[in-house]
Symmetry: C2
Subunit: 484 residues, 2 copies
């Protein structure tokens, strides 16, 4: 472990976090709001903190052209933690977010694109800070897609080892050629989607500020809103449809967008995971529509609209709300809870277990059944006609089991802080899957303010664990990791 280099890279990330604060500062100045100095001070602290390792270690760092998987994982995990810490400074220094724990919770919730909030009155927060809250989700989402493919190679890092740590796809070969260039294109796709969404919001009559904020939190499947009532505030079919579309885009593997833009018009259809993802959306939307039609909504149109929005929002792990699904029938709630675990596609900005893993698991179980019927046959798990190596299948199944185990243990610990049974499980599902709202006292029309402080720290860890594919974070707890 070349710690100097790791500190150097984490410093660079911290530096850019500081630089990014110029945007909210301008907005705060523009609107004449009062939190310019908290933002300015935070910027200075972050830039200074980032420059110190750069100053000492830049020469050694320039000589490094390969990083080990271990170093890569240390950079990913520590990078997200430090960026989360420095990102929380504006919140903390402004005093508008309460305690340091609250501020850190909100910041980590942003950078991990979770969207769980401790704010009880979002609209009372000054606009620069609210913009920062949205912007860190956008940066976090960029990190999720691009970090391992573009930023680290840009810093002179090999990258493939990090791809393994950061991109959950069990098929890590898709983007091998010209990683850096492709990654830059993906970043442009991400920015392009964001811009188009802003325009569509403006066309629909949304104010510029809200349009920018919501576009910045849709594409990373973040889900922070500038409104207390989230998207329900606008009560507009048009906005619902626009957001549903962009949430779906954000939940699809970004390499497919890249392929589509390169001319492969059937890219989405050809991808087995994408079909599974869209099929799941369709199936659950229909089932929930039937479940809420007549019981909650009086027209089938309304039932479809609210069902589709909530299914897409939860399955893509965005977490916007246009309805309080806790008032829906139990079956709809159970389906949404399952969506929290399934999550988006691998290579998207969505969290959760990822559709690809669920597919591998399905196919593996079917294969097991098949080999019980035909004990002497040899068969492999195939996705889109391509065999998945057996050790990859095992890793996928192990990940699913680990995810569930972690979920159970974290829920028990959260329950130990004094929250009720449903909230404990709901809050862990929501943070581990990077969704945002959960069930119980952290439902879609509530927030995380009433969770005890120890519980908030636990949830901060869950957000990081979920976002960084668990292993990258828990590896820090293994003594073996720190040896030599």
């Amino acid at each position: 472990m070349r710690w100097r280099y790791i500190i150097y890279v984490v410093g660079v990330l911290t530096f850019f976090t500081g630089v990014s604060m110029t945007a909210p500062i301008f907005i705060e100045l523009f609107y004449g709001d009062k939190n310019v100095f908290p933002l300015l001070n935070s910027m200075n602290i972050a830039i200074a903190a980032g420059l110190i390792p750069w100053f000492f270690y830049r020469k050694q760092a320039a000589e490094i052209d390969y990083i080990s998987p271990r170093e890569g994982m240390a950079i990913v995990a520590l990078g997200w933690m430090f960026v989360g810490f420095f990102g929380s400074l504006p919140f903390y220094l402004s005093g508008q977010f309460g305690s340091f724990t609250n501020s850190l919770f909100e910041s980590v919730s942003g950078f991990t694109t979770t969207g769980s909030s401790i704010l009880t009155d979002i609209e009372s927060i000054s606009r620069g800070l609210l913009f920062w809250r949205s912007f860190i989700q956008w940066l976090g989402g960029m990190g999720i897609i691009v970090l391992s493919l573009a930023i680290l190679p840009l810093l002179g890092v090999g990258g493939m080892q990090l791809y393994k740590a950061e991109v959950p796809s069990p098929v890590p070969d898709k983007l091998k050629p010209r990683i850096r260039e492709t990654a830059m294109i993906l970043w442009k796709v991400y920015a392009l989607f964001t811009l188009v969404e802003i325009m569509l919001f403006l066309i629909g009559g949304m104010g510029l500020y809200d349009a920018v904020n919501h576009a910045l939190t849709t594409m990373p499947t973040g889900g922070f809103s500038t409104k207390n009532a989230s998207i329900a505030q606008f009560d507009s079919l048009y906005f619902d449809l626009v957001i549903i579309f962009f949430m779906l885009m954000a939940g699809i593997n970004f390499t497919l967008h890249f392929q589509f833009l390169k001319g492969s018009s059937l890219a989405f259809w050809k991808d087995a995971e994408c079909r599974f993802f869209l099929g799941t959306v369709l199936l659950f939307t229909i089932i929930i529509s039937f479940d809420i039609f007549g019981t909650v909504y009086n027209t089938i149109g309304q039932a479809l609209r609210y069902s589709a929005f909530q299914v897409v929002s939860i399955l893509t792990t965005t977490g916007y709300a246009t309805a309080d699904y806790e008032q829906w029938p139990a079956m709809s709630q159970a389906i949404l809870l399952m969506c929290m675990f399934i999550g988006g596609s691998a290579g998207s900005t969505g969290g959760g277990m990822k559709c690809l893993r669920i597919m591998v698991c399905f196919k593996y179980c079917y294969k097991e059944l098949f080999s019980l019927i035909h004990p002497h046959s040899v068969s492999h798990v195939k996705i889109a006609g391509k065999s998945i190596p057996e050790d990859v299948v095992r890793s996928v199944l192990g990940f699913l089991a680990l995810y569930m185990g972690l979920f159970a243990i974290a829920a028990i610990l959260l329950a130990g802080t004094g929250v009720d049974f449903v909230t404990a499980f709901g809050a862990i599902a929501a943070t581990l899957g990077n969704i945002g709202p959960g069930f119980g006292m952290v439902g879609p029309v509530e927030n995380f303010a009433l969770i005890p402080d120890t519980g908030k720290w636990l949830l901060i860890w869950c957000m990081l664990l979920g976002r960084l594919e668990i292993y990258t974070v828990i590896i820090l707890l293994v003594p073996e990791f720190w040896r030599k």
Copy 2:
């Protein structure tokens, strides 16, 4: 698939189910209760139904000395279903259990050693019927341990393929030599434990009828009680301790009892799974004691007593209750919910995922972490120093994922029948793990009477799926299974 042979074996099982009804008939006669004829008629029906295939197919069956895995699975799944059906006849014909659905639910709950009950007033049921209800749990438990090791070889069947289907141990070699003899010994161990428990109950002053019934439902980790308030009715520390001891015995791999009786005095200590099982009991008992001390109970002694009983009852999947754990703090409830999933040891009468699988999963995840740190090292999952083959590890992880997936889907379906959110998940966890009581409206002081009929049918399937290790039952749904 030699269907005649399968029908023949299922017929034999049905025949013996009928013969077993002589016991409750004598008890009904002895107490002068009024349900002699329902029992007598059921016995005649079951014996007749069992004799018909015997009459037609006995000669062909006698020639068969090998069964295929497929045939074995068909026998296991259909056997349990038919026995469940014929076992329900006394309940249905007596009229004391209400609808046929209720009667079948109670019978399958018995034979699968689940212990979920639709009875709202157990003590109003005549004593012969209540004995039958306990006795079918005992028979079911015998089936679970012995079926694949003794009964099927007794019928001239190879057995090892069924061992694979029926005994969940990923290490199927333990009892290979002299399967039949060893199985008979295990059956004797099972009977011996039951007898000793009866004696200890009698010494403590329990009436003979209650003593026999509770011993018959402890050893199969069944959990049916003859009292409305379950074990809480006796309110006796002595009985609690006796039952805790025998539940623990029932939750340990029966091959260890066998080894212990053959003179290996350290058998329990030497077995990694047994250490894990007892360690889990100890850990959770201590944590829950702290959680309920001061909040529910005023002395540490009481806290320990009720904590230990409930932890052992749920972890071994027995399902007896001495306390309403739904009134306990959320953390204790969450731990008990996790216990429902962990379950007893492989090769015990306990249900759930089984400790051995959880251990394999733990060790595999640690191995994954280790190989992320040392990418070029080769390591295997080892239990007690013995490497577990990689495909067995994969099967175990696949089983855990399948279990969770099935849990989610079944809970959604149950919620669709109109029960609330917590009840849906609690009832599925309780039936899939063959525990008995769950959460919500099927908690430890309630019952399954208010679940809608479609829900009861779903739960019947969950009990069978959980008890027969899922694959044995879902394989019946694969068209491939029925071909040729």
